[in-house]
Symmetry: C2
Subunit: 468 residues, 2 copies
C-alpha cells in the first residue's frame, strides 16, 4: 500500500500567495523579495489589506480577490488575523497552507485555543496545513522554499530533513553544505496543527529523491501514529532520529518552544531499539550519520577493521566500535601476507591495523577492504604536518603512501569505508581532497564507530523484516 | 612538599646531541635540519660512526668524542645499537635522554628484554630517559622541540599535553591551533622505560606556565603511583584524562601500540570519579574541555542558564546539562524584567531562555549573567544565513542583536560563558570574530554542558579538599 501523501502543491507550487506581505522589514517583506529573486515573480500573489504595491507587484486585499488559481498560501499575519485568513484560503480552495505566524500553543493556553479553532476550520477539507510557528519547507531540487535561503549554497541531494522550529530548520540548511550534506528537502513542522512528523516521514518515505530521512523530534504529536509511520518508512529507507526533551528541563523547554509534549524517553528509546529507527545521541552524530547513510552502502555483517597510522586514534575507534557490539575478526592470511610483504619489522599486522609511519596506509587499507572477514572499515590516515608538507613540496604525490581513493573504493564497493583525520589545516584539507570524492569523512573516531554500527544494525533490521 | 621534578635539560637544553643523525631521509636527517633551523646550530652535536659531515656540521663517532658538555641526547639509532649508545651517554654524564627509536616492548617479548636492559643501565644514575617509541617533547614558549614541528603555527600558552605515542603527539600539536589551544608543552612518553605519565603530571603540575593538564592514557605504567600523582596534581590544577584501552579489543591494540597494559577500566573510572581528575569520553571533548579550562573561570555552583536564539538547540543543551546533574534555577525578577521590558509578546522569559528572532540575544545574555542565581551560561547565538548577511551588507553592526562580547564578559568575569553556534560559514566566522576573543567557543551543545559540569565538579573537588 502506498504511503499517505501530502499535496504536491507544498513542494512544487505553480502559484503562491503570500498573505501578510508588507514593505516593513521582516519576513513579510523578505519572503516576497526572495521568491521574486528565485523566479516566482510571475506566479506570486501578495495579500495585505493595508498595501497596494510591493516589489513592483500588485497587492490584493484578500486572497479571494486574486483572479488566479493559488496552489500554496504562505501565511505570515499576526495570530489574531489567522482564523479569518484561513477561512479565505478555504473559500479559495487552496489545498496547501504554510502558516508561519507564531504565538500559538508554544505561548500558553490562549494560543492553544487559537490552534483548536484552526483545526476545526480545516476539518473535512482536503486542505492541508503546515505550522504554525515554522518557516515551512525548502526544496533544493526544484529551487523552491517558503523561507529565505541561499540556493547557491544548498546542494540538492538525497537527505530529507524534518525539523520542528523555523530557526533551527534554517540553520540546519545553512550548515549542511559545510557538513557535506546534500538535501532532497527540509521541512519545519512547528506546532503541527495538521501536518506532523508522521506525514513528513511518509512523504520522504515515498519521495524518490530521498534515500535517508533525518528527524529532529521534541515529542511526537501522536505517539501511536508516529511509531507506525517510523516502522513502515524504516522498512524502505533509513530514518535517523535525534529525540530531545529527554529530561525534565528539556521537556519544559520543548513545551515552551513548540508546544510539544516530549513524553517518556524510556518508551521512545525502547521503540527505537525495537524498530529499525536509528537514534543518534548528539547533534554532530546526526550530521555524521546522515552523511554516511547518504553515501555509503549498508554493512552486511558486524565484522570491521580499523586501519590507521596513529595507534592512539586506532585504539579510540576500536574501543568505541567494540563497545557498540561490532567485532574485530582476525585478518585472512592473504591480507596479512599482502601487508607483511612490504612491512618493516616493527609493524604488527593485525586488526586493528596500525601502520605507523611505514607509508603502507594505502596498501593496508586496500588489502583489508578485500578481506572476506571484513564487512566495513574505519580508516584513520594521519601524518605530522611538517612531513606531509615536505613531501608535497618535493612534488611527490601523497597517494604513494595513502593510496588512491578511487581504487580503494573500487576494491570493495559493497563495503562501507569511513575516513577520519586530524592534524594541520594543510593535511586535513589534503585528506578531504584525496578521499572526500570517493569515501566518506566523519568528524570523530566515535562517530565512525557509531556510523558503522548503524549501517550494520539497519541492514540487519531490513533483512529480518524481509524474512518476516 | 614540592613535586618530584625532571631535569631542566629536557625542556631548555643548552646543548643537544643527536645520536643517529644521517644524511638519509627520515627522522635522522629531519631532526638535525629542524634544530638548526630553529636556532640550535651552534649547540648541536651530531653523532654517527658512518658519517663525517651533515648540514655543514661535523659528525662525531661517539657522543663521548664530543668536546663539550651535552645537556640532552636525542637517540634515533636502530634498536640493536641503543644499549651501547646509552652507555656512552652515561659515561658522558648526560642527564636527559630522549630515546625515539621503536621496536621495543610494543613488538613483543624480545623488545621487552631490550627495555629491561636499558632500565638496568639507568638504575642508580641521575640520568632520566623519555621513551622509547616516542618523539619526545615540544616546548613552544622556548621554541625547542625534539621532533619537527611548525613553530609559526603552534601558539605558546597554558595547556600541557601528555601523549603516549609520537605520531599522536605530533598531530595533536598540529591540530591544536585550529582548536584554539595554546600549549605550554607537549610530551610523548612512548613505552616509558623511565619517565612516565606520573612524572609528567608532576612536571606540568609544578610548571608555572601550565594551567591545565591534558593526558591521553592507554594504561598507567604504575597504577598506584599514577593515582597518587593525579590526586596530588589535581589539587593544584585541573587534569583532563582520555583513558583508552577500555575494551578487550582496545586493550590488545594498546598493548601492540605502546606495550601498555590498559588495566580494568572500572577501577580507573572509580578513581576518576573519586578524585578531581576529569575523565572525558570523546576525543573532541578532550579539546573542548582543555580550551574551556584554559580560558574560563571555574564554576562556583551547579546552577546554569541556557540563552539561545534556537529553541531546538536550547533543548539539546538543557537535556545534556540536566542529565549531568546541573540545575536550571528560575531567573530572578530583575532579570526577567530586564528582558521582558524589550520582549515581544510571544517570548517566554524563563530558563532556558529562548529569545527566538527577537533580536534580544545580547540583552538576555548579559541580564542572565548578572543574575545571582546563575553560576554559568551556555550561549547559543544562531540566525539564518541570509538574514545576517543582509544585516551586515546594510552596514549594521550585528552586536545590536547579539551584544558586545567584551561588555558581556565584564558583566560577570567570575562566571564561565560558553558559546556554541552552527550555521552558514559566514555566520560561524562572524561569531568567532565577535565572541572568540572574550568568551570561549565549544564544538557542540553536549560539549558545552559537559564543560560547565566539569568546571563545577572540579571547583567543588578543590573546595572540599581545602576544607579537608
Amino acid at each position: 500500500m502506498p504511503f499517505p501523501s501530502l499535496p504536491e502543491e507544498f513542494f512544487r507550487p505553480r502559484s503562491v500567495a503570500i498573505i501578510g506581505a508588507t514593505k516593513k522589514s521582516g519576513f513579510g517583506s523578505g519572503i516576497p523579495a526572495f521568491l521574486k529573486r528565485i523566479g516566482y515573480g510571475d506566479r506570486l500573489y501578495l495579500v495585505n489589506p493595508r498595501e497596494t504595491e510591493i516589489e513592483g507587484l500588485p497587492v490584493y486585499r484578500r486572497v479571494i480577490d486574486v483572479p488566479h488559481r493559488i496552489d500554496l498560501a504562505i501565511i505570515i499575519v499576526p495570530k489574531e488575523h489567522v482564523h479569518a485568513v484561513i477561512r479565505d484560503c478555504l473559500e479559495k480552495e487552496i489545498r496547501a497552507i504554510i502558516l508561519e505566524s507564531a504565538g500559538f500553543s508554544e505561548t500558553g493556553p490562549e494560543g492553544a485555543v487559537l490552534e483548536e479553532g484552526i483545526e476545526r476550520l480545516l476539518r473535512g477539507n482536503g486542505t492541508r496545513l503546515i505550522g504554525p510557528n515554522c518557516v515551512g519547507l525548502i526544496n533544493p531540487h526544484d529551487r523552491f522554499a517558503s523561507t529565505e535561503v541561499d540556493f547557491d549554497e544548498i546542494r540538492p541531494g538525497n537527505v530529507g530533513v524534518i525539523a520542528q522550529s523555523g530557526v533551527f530548520g534554517n540553520i540546519v540548511a545553512d550548515w549542511a553544505p559545510s557538513q557535506d550534506l546534500a538535501l532532497s528537502g527540509l521541512v519545519t513542522i512547528g506546532n503541527r496543527i495538521d501536518v506532523d512528523e508522521s506525514d513528513m516521514l511518509y512523504h520522504f518515505g515515498a519521495d524518490e529523491r530521498t534515500d535517508v530521512i533525518v528527524l529532529y523530534l521534541e515529542g511526537a504529536k501522536n505517539g501511536q501514529r508516529f511509531m507506525k509511520a517510523a516502522r513502515e518508512v524504516s522498512l524502505k529507507k533509513p530514518v535517523l532520529v535525534y529525540k530531545s526533551g529527554r529530561t525534565e528541563v528539556g521537556k519544559k523547554a520543548a513545551a515552551s518552544h513548540t508546544g510539544s509534549m516530549s513524553g517518556d524517553d524510556a518508551l521512545y528509546d525502547a521503540f527505537f531499539r525495537q524498530s529499525g529507527v536509528v537514534r543518534v545521541s548528539t547533534f554532530q552524530e546526526l550530521f555524521d550519520l546522515a552523511r554516511v547513510f547518504s553515501r555509503e552502502p549498508l554493512m552486511k555483517g558486524p565484522n570491521i577493521s580499523v586501519v590507521t597510522s596513529s595507534g592512539s586514534l586506532g585504539v579510540m575507534a576500536a574501543d568505541a566500535a567494540f563497545q557498540l557490539g561490532l567485532h574485530f575478526p582476525d585478518l585472512e592470511p592473504d591480507t596479512v601476507a599482502a601487508v607483511r610483504g612490504h612491512a618493516p619489522a616493527w609493524m604488527n599486522v593485525k586488526n586493528p591495523l596500525d601502520v605507523g609511519p611505514s607509508g603502507l596506509f594505502g596498501v593496508a587499507l586496500e588489502a583489508t577492504l578485500r578481506d572476506k572477514q571484513v564487512d566495513g572499515v574505519i580508516a584513520i590516515p594521519v601524518i605530522p604536518g611538517t612531513i606531509i608538507e615536505s613531501i608535497v613540496d618535493a612534488g611527490i604525490d601523497p597517494s604513494f603512501m595513502f593510496g588512491e581513493a578511487e581504487k580503494i573504493r573500487k576494491a570493495a564497493p559493497e563495503k562501507p569505508v569511513l575516513i577520519y583525520t586530524v592534524g594541520s589545516n594543510f593535511w586535513v584539507q589534503l585528506v578531504k581532497d584525496m578521499f572526500g570524492p570517493h569515501l566518506t569523512m566523519v568528524s570523530s573516531p566515535e562517530a565512525a564507530a557509531k556510523a558503522l554500527w548503524a549501517l550494520y544494525r539497519y541492514n540487519r533490521f531490513r533483512n529480518e523484516a524481509a524474512r518476516g
